[in-house]
Symmetry: D2
Subunit: 487 residues, 4 copies
């Protein structure tokens, strides 16, 4: 295979920066070396197949999005990105690994669910991928299967305290699964919302004629996220299972996580770009000429966008700085407005839950660097290094060092990225500027003071010169080990 030298850039790690070149041989990084790449008199530049000039740019480990849902069946439809379109969009945005969720549905065998997802992904992906396992039906059989998952390269599983009748597990089920996790070292991922209580509120709001997307945010009150977060923490405390709470959006939930960690528990939290930038008022409460007050459907996801009046967004950025929240994933789960989101016209509870962001995570978080919310190092940490450590792929992914997969992004701080559907001077759309399979953008109008310049996936350039040059099937399944954070 080819050799590549990325030269002249600033290598950014989770702890600092180095003016250094990176030498790639085939799929792997073989050296990080002094800028100029002359070692003991040998000019390495001369011998390589390709040279990428990264002068004035950041060289970072490829993004790892640890929470995506390609093709996820939900509410009678399915997420609009499949593994092909979704991972290609990810590549466009500087993400070189996703960890998606295989689903065990009610009544199904865990192994069968996993096989289905392997089938959907194999040969389709633009970048490497791994799986968490959703356990949708805890029973002696599935608990036994759960115990075997680490041998399959699946070291984490997810449960839902929401969605009764669908993915929901009750506390008895959670307890049993967590006991397996404590034994095996698997990470328990939790969707922490009190679903049974929320469903009452949903029913009551609808009965009152409050059917707009805005009421999705009202029904899923922060109290029910805080509560479920605390409950998950105590079940983890009782069993000794490590716990990772997904898509944290309420500041009060963060306080629960922080208290548990200060108390010595192995508890972690993830947030998503939407909880940093978007809000109940501005987005769920939005209206447009096209959709009226149903415009907010674009941002219906769970946990919901929170009130900016209450200050959740501000607090969530702070939590990234203080490490009370450890990393940022997207919970990428896109649905088109036409034919999907519009299933919920007149009834917000029928709107498929999800936002598409897999392409924008690296950019949106980089904007946090520009805005002074986080440091450049913290950007790399929360988008790549910590996800790798958290989910057992560090060394292969999440770091630029010899032996690691050459998943590398050259990021241009002098570039610019406009997200959304630009219009020309007459107001006519010029064609969409993103690559996800959606008929709209949840991030319409966001301007980023930076740009994903070049993307390498296992040594192969897949994005360069604003072109996708990879191929379907480039991506491989990644077997994961246990989380590095376990003590």
């Amino acid at each position: 295979m080819a050799t590549t030298l990325i030269t002249g850039g600033t290598v950014v790690t989770s702890t600092g920066r180095a003016d250094a070149d990176v030498l790639v041989d085939g799929e792997r990084i073989v050296a990080v070396l002094q800028r100029g790449s002359v070692l003991l008199g040998t000019d390495l530049t001369a011998g390589v197949d390709n040279v990428i000039d990264a002068t004035g740019k950041y060289v970072i480990p490829g993004g790892i999005d640890a929470h995506t849902h390609m093709s996820l069946p939900f509410g009678g439809t399915a997420a609009s990105d499949n593994f092909e379109t979704g991972t290609r969009a990810a590549a466009w945005g500087g993400t070189t690994t996703i960890i998606d969720f295989a689903v065990q549905s009610h009544g199904q065998k865990v192994q069968d669910g996993l096989a289905t997802w392997h089938g959907m992904a194999a040969g389709q992906c633009a970048i490497d991928y791994a799986f968490h396992q959703i356990i949708g039906d805890v029973n002696p059989d599935s608990l036994a299967a759960l115990r075997g998952l680490p041998d399959e390269g699946i070291s984490s599983y997810k449960m839902f305290m929401a969605y009764p009748g669908v993915f929901y597990s009750d506390d008895a089920q959670i307890l049993r699964a967590m006991q397996v996790a404590a034994d095996t070292g698997m990470m328990t991922m939790m969707h922490a919302e009190n679903g049974p209580a929320i469903d009452v509120l949903v029913e009551q709001l609808l009965a009152q004629g409050k059917s707009d997307p805005y009421y999705h945010g009202v029904a899923r009150a922060w109290q029910m996220e805080e509560e479920a977060t605390h409950r998950a923490i105590m079940l983890a405390n009782l069993t000794g299972a490590p716990l990772y709470v997904v898509h944290v959006s309420a500041k009060q939930a963060v306080e629960q996580l922080a208290a548990a960690r200060d108390n010595g528990q192995n508890v972690f939290g993830e947030t998503c770009p939407q909880y940093l930038y978007l809000s109940l008022e501005d987005n769920l409460g939005a209206s447009s000429e096209e959709w009226g007050s149903f415009e907010g459907a674009k941002w219906v996801c769970s946990t919901p966008l929170r009130s900016k009046e209450e200050g959740h967004q501000h607090h969530m950025w702070q939590s990234l700085r203080t490490n009370d929240i450890q990393m940022v994933s997207t919970d990428h789960c896109p649905f088109c407005m036409k034919g999907q989101k519009d299933l919920g016209l007149g009834n917000f509870s029928k709107i498929p839950n999800g936002i598409g962001s897999v392409e924008h995570r690296m950019d949106l978080l980089y904007q946090g660097v520009v805005d002074g919310q986080i440091s450049l190092e913290r950007w790399v940490e929360i988008t790549s290094t910590t996800p790798a450590r958290m989910f057992g792929i560090y060394g292969k992914k999440g770091v630029i060092q010899p032996g690691a997969d050459a998943d590398i992004v050259v990021y241009d701080p002098n570039g610019h990225t406009s997200i959304g559907y630009p219009v020309d001077k007459d107001g006519n759309p010029t064609g969409r500027s993103h690559h996800m399979n959606m008929d709209h953008s949840a991030w319409e109008g966001y301007e980023i003071d930076g740009h994903v310049d070049t993307v390498l996936s296992r040594g192969k350039v897949v994005v360069t010169d604003r072109q996708y040059v990879g191929a379907k099937g480039d991506g491989q399944f990644v077997r994961r080990g246990l989380s590095q954070y376990l003590i």
Copy 2:
């Protein structure tokens, strides 16, 4: 200068491990490269002057001890290690940088204090050194000087809420200094104990005839550390100054730090090996044939060793895991029992305060890895990487990457280190096993399941084959920038 290749080892960073070789050219690291060191067909091993075989060993960035007091005048005597003996002992123990404290005494100019310390250190050191500045007399003059210190490569200063009449600053003085720190980005380091209140307790205990070393620990009650920590935090909150609390020993003080960080404040804490292993009961309360109940004088330091009954030590290890405490320094301040500590016979308040540990920090913390208290990565983080980031020398120090100083330790997990003064089978001392200028060891009898194998300081091997092969004056002054942790 010579080239060196460290080959066959496992490079450990604060985030993970890599099987990789490290190439050194002169004083700097020039590459981290695949094990075997063949790049594009070129065998780098052939061309280097020296090869260090690190097979089966850890290759880590040299230790950074951010809190030492060589030759510090205290209580009518002075710390028994000077910059020569102290830095040589540090090198023996795998520490390749110290940050010592220059002192401005009452009535003195800051510049003069700093010049004195430069004078004491220059040409004496075995390893690189830097300075924090103690501000012992806040006045318009010293505040102006403080503002200029970053230009001198001094980006942090220390104040004392204890020791009235000596180093003590009152709250008005602390406020004024912190305002300068908030302006300049300097780190405020705080000795957080309520000195005026403690001195009342000291006087009362002595009046009651309670003069043994044990009462040093009684007088310096945890409430007075917790209180001062909180006070420092609030003064920092008011001024916006970043705060770093030194030698944290009380679990309640940790809780104050954790709460402030969760609240978004730039607040950090350091602990020391003595607060992880030693206790009021076992050490301050010790007695021996030689010294009777004055034996405890060996462990008189401030903040004091805390009660193990109250669980501080256990909590302090936990704080290292949860990052509520960010790093470990020694507060190395050695005094001999004869002629120094014994000044306090019959009056614990006359015992010079300090313990000598500069040589043992890397080993003692590695034992925490063996004991399952912290991970291998966390060991590197709290002993080297975080100190470098915290005090503005990261990139040059604290990391193994191209461009960094070649301060490298090869650590042998299969080696063993016995600390203290071993005796032969007849009970006769066989000569001391440490290299600090002390007539005893505070760590007598500690056994470490690991060993400092080889130490490079800026590319030069200074410790190898259990021999010190460096020279006085090898170490240079390191100018420091601002802390990397400031947002």
Copy 3:
């Protein structure tokens, strides 16, 4: 009806003491007057029918036990005290009002459950009684009935987060009921334990052969009480319902209650004598000649007795001092060892849950005064005045003032009470010393430095000279208003 003067005593209220006489006319108190009872020259002593000499004694409002379960069906048997025996025992112990729990079982109408309890109590009681309503089946019908209960003099209802399949309500049901409570001002009483999770632990312990009563305490871990307490608080926060958590035993649950109150929520907590004095180690873990390790069955109740090693009992007394716990009830639910508790021989989960204490609450708490745990005023507050205010009968009950029912206890601080089954000098039992319908005492051997001297129930002396002189049917149903604590 007759007039009575209680003269020479010290009237103790929840805020202080007065040397005063109390004049009773028929069923009511008509005056509290200066000791000696001469008003404007009129000697009232002369004109009364009875004079009770309270010299050297405390005159207090009769005890109110807000948590009893006479004849409660549980686990295939029923509480061994019925309304006759239980209220008579209460009277013996200085309690003049109980609030018992009417039960709506699954599938039953609330009104029918209430009618059943009215039927069981009417004409049987020695003292006045009121009812809380247990809602065991939340549905549209029972919610409507709940809304009407205040008109029946029932201003509080209880739900269970434990006992799935019996009394258990899920979070959706709790939410709906709390909404009614928020509308009506009714108090929500909560049995706060995570039943579904606990039942898993029970099953697993039994499967491991751990069938002794001790494991009842192990299975019902404090984490599951803390968790449920927090969950109830958040559901109350969301709905605006006032919340009263019954039988709090874990110190961590108290912390949750305290935090909620400091945060401004209408949240209250009750503890019971068993959580102040008894423990997992000493009682659930007890063994005897007669019963072996099944001896612990005497103290099987839920929430369970907690570990004294963990310090819950100490913390619970403290909570009474700081008002983080507002009052003390008994959760009186007695079962005999023979024929009832012994249903659980070989399987702790079959042991009927409950302890009999209704007779001893006033004495056991008075001992807290003697031991310096609480003040004399606090004793009156937590046993009578606060229960009356909390549950809407203050003015009629819980206070000595004109217009109040003459429910009065003369308590002798120089008396003594030995609880349990005394033996004569040959070790032969001399007959039981308590009056509850139990074949043992949970308080065997407790010695109290005080004695219930005289008890008046609505003006009638029912206990005097160590004799019960009242009659079945003396007690009447008390209609209750809303809690006085609602703002």
Copy 4:
């Protein structure tokens, strides 16, 4: 002496209400009796000298203002109310006892300070009075004197963490005094603000030309109140002294107090009407035609009025409901604008600190009842019963019961009180409506939906029919015992 019957009213206590009459014989209450006052056939109404008809009104224990400063020397002037004018105004407002502060100045003997205050008050007062002792100079002599104060009927003393050079005590002094308090059971009252730090901010603001009253509030930042509160708590924790923090205004300080109480410490807090109603923005930041931006001087007091934007006032009402703040005093310390407050024209630090409210406390807090902030019972508790219990005069004061001083207020919930300087229809002042010796009112324009109808002081009617009918010298010195709250 005369006998009086107060008939037809509702007696309100800290725990509830009773429709009852109150019989007074001479200076004392001799009975609380059924409304109608017929006992055993004797109509008491017939025999009394005076009958007060309280029909439709509340009969409450006279107000106790535990924090006043009559004639206090401050900043080169003295509080404008002396004991004659101040206590008369108190009587007008339904307050029948004040606890003022005797002052030991620097260099003075405690006994001499106390004697001076006895001299100023004796024969001057309209109502009863007691003293706390300010200790302005801790030394062996004053500590010995402190120990003797309980024998003088002085069971509490106050220290200042603010006002360096005037009343300030350093932490060593506070520790020594608290040790005496722990021994004797005396209550330590603390002015909790970090004076040395605040004085730096004052100096800096003035140097920047920020001299308006508004900057008084800026300089005395909440951080410095929170900090000092925590420090006082920890010194109390160390010594075991009970602690009462005066004039709490910052919500963060309340959190410190609440945490300490939940932790079992004997810690209490008082707030004042100004911290419930007034704010930095509206009052310190006020301007007027007459005074321009110096208008704010009317509300210069310490601790200062807090920002309503930050929500302190809202939180302070909540704290009264949750009992995190136990009582309300005025800190009455009036100064006229002309000749006193105007000393600080051009320099806010020269404005005498203080607000006059002694006349309005009962009304202003009653308005909290009308507004739904607190219950009627809580009103009586925080204005009379708790002050009496807290400061050792309960039984004699603070309660309506036989043996108590007949300090009684008949309060009319249908009356109305307009505070301030009303103007006629032409805008001309019609004469002031208050009776304090001030040339303005800090409460101008406040309208109260209630009215102090009749006031009895030790059995003598002193206010009736909107007239003061008492006399100078009616009031006597009250010797106080220890706080009832000590366990």
